[in-house]
Symmetry: C2
Subunit: 395 residues, 2 copies
Amino acid sequence: MSQPHKLCMIPELPVSKHVSEHFVVILGPIEFHEDVLDAMSTPATSHVDPLFVPIFGESIELLRKVLLTKDAQPFVVAGSGTLGWDMMVNLIERDDEVLVINTGYFGDHLGECLEVYGAKVTHLRAPIGSRPSLEDLEQVLTGKKYKMVTVTHVDTSTGVLADIKGVAKVVKSISPETIVVVDGVCSVGSEEIRFDEWNLDVVITASQKALGVPPGLGIVVASQHAMKIFKSRKTPVASYYSNWNKWLPIMNAYEARKPAYFATPAVQLIYALHTSLKQITAQSMDSRFEQHRQVSQKFKNAITELGLKQLAVSDEAAANGMTAIWLPDGVQVSDIVPSLAAKGVQIAGGLHKECAAKYFRIGHMGISVTEPQRGHIDKVIESLATTLKELKSKA
Amino acid sequence: MSQPHKLCMIPELPVSKHVSEHFVVILGPIEFHEDVLDAMSTPATSHVDPLFVPIFGESIELLRKVLLTKDAQPFVVAGSGTLGWDMMVNLIERDDEVLVINTGYFGDHLGECLEVYGAKVTHLRAPIGSRPSLEDLEQVLTGKKYKMVTVTHVDTSTGVLADIKGVAKVVKSISPETIVVVDGVCSVGSEEIRFDEWNLDVVITASQKALGVPPGLGIVVASQHAMKIFKSRKTPVASYYSNWNKWLPIMNAYEARKPAYFATPAVQLIYALHTSLKQITAQSMDSRFEQHRQVSQKFKNAITELGLKQLAVSDEAAANGMTAIWLPDGVQVSDIVPSLAAKGVQIAGGLHKECAAKYFRIGHMGISVTEPQRGHIDKVIESLATTLKELKSKA
């Protein structure tokens, strides 16, 4: 970083030359495309610059394409995915009942966020590696009226995939006005999400996962039903920075290709977001979902062949963008993570408070999946096999 | 951004060759150093990577050097400067009395933020271009007890510089326990701030102003007195994402060179912050303050020679990092801004609601000041002179 140098353009460099010796397959930040990284170093640009305004405006539109929604309202705000939770509470007033479908660490904390803003939270939990059944959900919903049901699409702590289509169907059939919130921080861009078709109300995500953009943007997409509920609030929104009343005029202005000001947008991150969204939407979302399913299957088959077991107890409850894997007997997180790092592959340890030391996690999202010529997934499998052999021979 | 290309290094390019044809002298984002922009495109790096942890840790330490404080607590959070206001409310409980020393747009909105969280806000205002006198402040403070006094160091809407040293002295002499909050979004790195010596409690800032880093980081630095008041809160903190109870362990961990997780840090922005803070602290803060004073004086002299008048009514109330200038008769914002933009110089229009159409604003902060070989300020003066001549000949 210390040498002065400047950007230069080398057009049409074949992707194969980009294969890096070291890469990350944690659960985000994921690997970033070279063009996305270049966009991060866009020279100083005013947030009201006529060059920047359409970049921000089009990014808002492209998010709708990624979520397969015609008219939901995206919010793109400087912050982390956790800020997305704070933005969800625009739909909550004190003493509102909320059901949290909880499959791990992120369900716990999402519930904690809701409670800070006065919601009455009920958790519907399942054992580690499973997800609550739709029958359980139906039973809970018939017992009490909830203003909001939240579901973590992929709980990064367990690699469990929720059936958000089924959840929304059950919720809307019992209580059409109930708001269905999907925490899609670890799923938007890697798991199938059909916002309009599945009748979702809010999807929360962040830049650094399957959207393939460095961390620093919280993203929330809200249905018109959610916007209507928001507009009919009886009490003021409980926070300032996250207030949709502040952000809605900004989003509307930029989408209309006009600048507006509430808080300075993260210009360079939005250039990077735009670059990545253009790449993502260059193919159909269906084909992107399918690529992630296929690579996930390939990876999970390889894991099984290595004699390893996943935390997810069934195929249908296993995420397509990541895998959480129990450590074999006698192997510690502190053995396997550095050993893979030495081979150039950065993976993650466990996170769930009840068993963090007993498993590890590997992400397979974004360009590591959609650009197989980078060789990431093959190298992960190969390095994992070698590492396990080495650790066994030492034991 | 649409052409595939990658970064390449051209080492030892003399800085003079970096002088760009186009640059921004708005009030942030300011111009960024090439090394800072390169740090923005740091490849994917885990927020718990042993390479990243000391970068974040040292950034926290370097912020203390910039603020001239021995033991104040920095918080560095993904978000904008406006998020810094949300973080200030960790010190506020419902019905707390707060005095806002108001010199423009940002005083109004800071007060609005405090009211969202239940504070009882009193504004101490002055006419546009002036600042409330210390005598006025003394009188207000003797009439009522305030838990907090806030002061916008440089209100970007007017270019008025507050006397934060004098304010803190008056506040602490009348009521030592009252918290002195400085909104330093447009002053940290360009105006003299002596955190410990001047007895400040909170300084709020953002990455994209004189700290010279792209937008996306909210930064708050709190004195041990403020931390003590925070820890003695009787009611829970009113927000989730901004809660110091969440962030303090994270800051402590990274400073101790250990990773920790609440929300994913904006890794690339923190690499950029680290790069810029290393550059800033490579010289003494005193010499940085003096550079900004000298360049400001030179710029203001040039403005006066061009027959222009500042909004700031006195030299001592004029910021050193920016100048707000009344438009000459017959000249519109819509004339002057595009005319300068055509010459490669991006300036800003007015912002104060009472007179936005009657003035324009120019920033002189960061590398535009500390690296005169870039020629920014000279080119601004020259282009402004030419533009005024052109506009007059058209009139």
